[in-house]
């Protein structure tokens, strides 16, 4: 392994911080020089996971903390988003496309599906009354010349 970097962040469960979290992770990942498409994918999944923590985990109680870490190992990024909110009863069901417990809020139920589509690996652990952790891993194509040789 030649390149390693890590950051850990926590912020209040306020909807204003969704954009903040997205910029923070994207700016950290920009050290790997991804292309703009990959960067947009990462921003999108961070958005989805952080929004879930805020509106489902804490039901917008701004006292709650959202925990976020990002780690770079060579060209692989691991992002962990965690809350200490209400947790998920049935994770398998929650991950189904279109499943949502908040249809009244115009939620699409596509959050987890988007994460699965844009990332190489998505791991969800949760305990009712304790909170939820989402681990997201993605290998970036960081050097176009290298990609050509594969």
């Amino acid at each position: 392994m030649t390149f390693h970097n890590k950051m850990e962040l926590r912020f209040k469960a306020k909807s204003e911080n969704e954009a903040f979290a997205r910029v923070t992770v994207a700016s950290f990942v920009s050290q790997l020089d991804p292309d703009l498409e990959q960067l947009t994918e990462i921003k999108t999944v961070v958005s989805e996971a952080v929004t879930n923590a805020i509106i489902h985990g804490y039901e917008e109680n701004e006292e709650g903390w959202v925990f976020l870490s990002a780690e770079i190992n060579d060209n692989e990024v691991t992002i962990i988003i965690r809350d200490e909110g209400q947790g998920i009863k049935d994770i398998e069901q929650a991950r189904q496309p279109l499943f949502t417990t908040k249809p009244e809020m115009e939620r699409s139920g596509m959050g987890f599906t988007i994460m699965e589509n844009f990332m190489d690996h998505v791991e969800v652990t949760s305990e009712e009354g304790k909170g939820t952790t989402v681990k997201l891993v993605k290998k970036l194509i960081t050097n176009p010349n290298q990609a050509l040789c594969n």
Partner: protein, 77 residues
Amino acid sequence: IGEIQRFLRDDGSVKVSRSLKETANRIRRKKDELTKELGRQPRVSEIAEALDISPEEVVFAQEAMREPASIHETVYE
């Protein structure tokens, strides 16, 4: 006098939201230009170099495209 200075300063000030939006527009134009030129999506560094800002600043400014930085701006501009 303090108030007058403050007034003068405010009068000449540029809000961050506006400045970011301008940079975001430059980024979008550069991105389209480079996509055509390279036949692929540009990398963050390629945009950053072309506009002479850091990759982190590219990311920050790009965010201004997605959402207005304040409600004030949505309503009044």
